[in-house]
Symmetry: none
Subunit: 184 residues, 4 copies
DNA sequence: AATGAATGAGACTTCATTCAT
DNA sequence: GATGAATGAAGTCTCATTCAT
């Protein structure tokens, strides 16, 4: 079962959901098409289980990023985002792809709004602790910014240099002295 | 031909490219499937022509936003983004969807990187005129931010209040006195 | 109308009947698809008229080959066959192709058996005059031989050297002294 | 799979390649259209496998015709040709049809020239053993003759009497005393 | 638990033909 | 005589899914 989900994950992340056939997944996993239907009731069900699995894994990672110092937590989160971009960009690509199939897959809608709430609140809380004013809007902006960087990196991979942007963000949001300013 | 492109635009923007069949498009346009192939050599060709059309239309709109005052230009652009979100969110959804099919549609790759270059340079230039330091990175951030807001609004439509965010951004980037600051 | 038949002839002879579309023929002829249907009631009708035209043209050629000396007539016919192979092999290809569509095109059946009768009788008559024994069977053999050479040349074009064969046949059938023998 | 190839063979041999649809073949074979694509990757692939199968079968038959006496071998071959004409004329029809699709089907080109070489050489060898002069050209002539008889019989079936021709050829090529002569 | 042969709906596409202008 | 927009039937092929073994 894990074998199947891994294969599916690899192929779907790389090629997209509709471009990946059940037959391909079965072949990549080294099992028969029939067996696949013993574990998953449909292609969509496979996608669902696969994504929810990846999400709970991501939550584990998130947990490990929390630090006593809110600035540190924030920096950890930002650095983790860039690490994921560098090392697992196809998975980010997949999540984005699914995001735009929200009308076809109900589970995506629920997952997306739940997690958005969660993360926004978490960041807002950090901002409050750090003492940034209007933390609600700033949190929404940071969340959007992260998504946007994900989009642009996935798409422009070859051309999009990420290292500068990482330092820029860390400086802007997590350093005590020069922070909170966009400009002089 | 316009009838067909309109129908295609409506359906594909709403339901997605693969989820929309040629038969549906023909039915929605009130023509036969065959006729469609008099104008477009394939489903992909239809998509391509449709998107490129929308792009050149978007360029026209962009042209009208330019003002002598760079702050004003920026504000116009931001407000236009939000107007599009409110009024034509499916088209933004479509552009995002295509973005993640970049490996299947060559024209998307070219279009995406061309436009990214263009917009980044334009914003960078505005920032320079306004006097914002590190305009290169700030421009990339603003571009990512816009994409991110697009993503999140498309997905979270019901829950995502946009009005506050619009004012927040305008204040942050385009107002003379309190600008350039993320904080106090 | 002649323009259309010429275009059709060129394309169908080269690419085959089903592989050539009405649209292509119209384009090659420089007329509209609609006009084509003013002259020919269907694609098949076009084929029919085109082939019958070519046949009557071929009959004219045949007429010019007849000589007082039957040996000379025979030589002329053989040399004409090889000339056609060299210069208009696609038309021979087309005739062969049609031959095997005999069940789909009634006019082919009629044409084929009529002409077969005609030619066989003609050759038989020549053989009788020359004094070859069993002229009926020899005539059928020569006819088959000519068809067979047509088939093999069309197919093996690059590899099939025709010049030797021509001389060989002329020697065998049309020369007074060494003729009538397959061997010493 | 054999069921499918048999059905395809029957229909395509009888009606022609393009005139036979996948749906018909599936119906005749008593299976679904889909299953057909489990075994053959395309209609052309089906044709290819079917023809190559028939060819290797034909080679087996050929092997059994060889005799110590070259005259006997030749007679066996000629009689086999006529037996095939009488009993499986549609298959000969199919081979001829394909022959004229040589530009569309690469495998036909290869097959045709390979087999031509093979048979020519074989007959030439027999002729040499029998002591017929100019065996190279005579071999090419006999090969063309056989093809030609195939063509004419397929087309003129009802009208074309084959029995006389068979005896005539056997007498001409395989009998010791009166052979090698076209005439007195 | 595991297979893979079999299905059938539905997708894209082609093309001969018609018809209003 | 001439056009070409429009049609619709038919074709090839794909693929998620089922089921007997």
């Amino acid at each position: 079962m894990q074998k199947i989900m891994d294969a599916a994950s690899r192929l779907i992340a790389q090629k997209g959901y509709e471009a990946t056939s059940i037959a391909e997944i079965a072949r990549e996993a080294g099992v028969s098409k029939g067996l696949l239907y013993n574990y998953f009731s449909s292609k969509q069900d496979l996608l669902e289980k696969m994504v929810l699995g990846a999400m709970s894994e991501a939550d584990n990672v998130m947990g490990r990023l929390i630090d006593d110092d809110p600035r540190r937590t924030l920096e950890n989160m930002i650095r983790e985002l860039f690490r994921q971009l560098r090392e697992r960009s196809e998975h980010i690509r997949l999540m984005m792809e699914l995001t735009f199939k929200i009308d076809r897959f109900d589970f995506v809608r629920k997952m997306a709004s739940d997690r958005y709430e969660l993360y926004i609140r978490f960041i807002e809380d950090l901002f409050q602790k750090i003492g940034i004013p209007d933390p609600a809007n700033e949190a929404r902006m940071l969340a959007a910014l992260c998504d946007g960087i994900g989009v642009q990196y996935t798409v422009l991979k070859g051309v999009y240099s990420i290292d500068q942007l990482e330092e820029f963000l860390v400086n802007k949001y997590c350093k005590k002295d020069q922070s909170h300013e966009m400009g002089h």
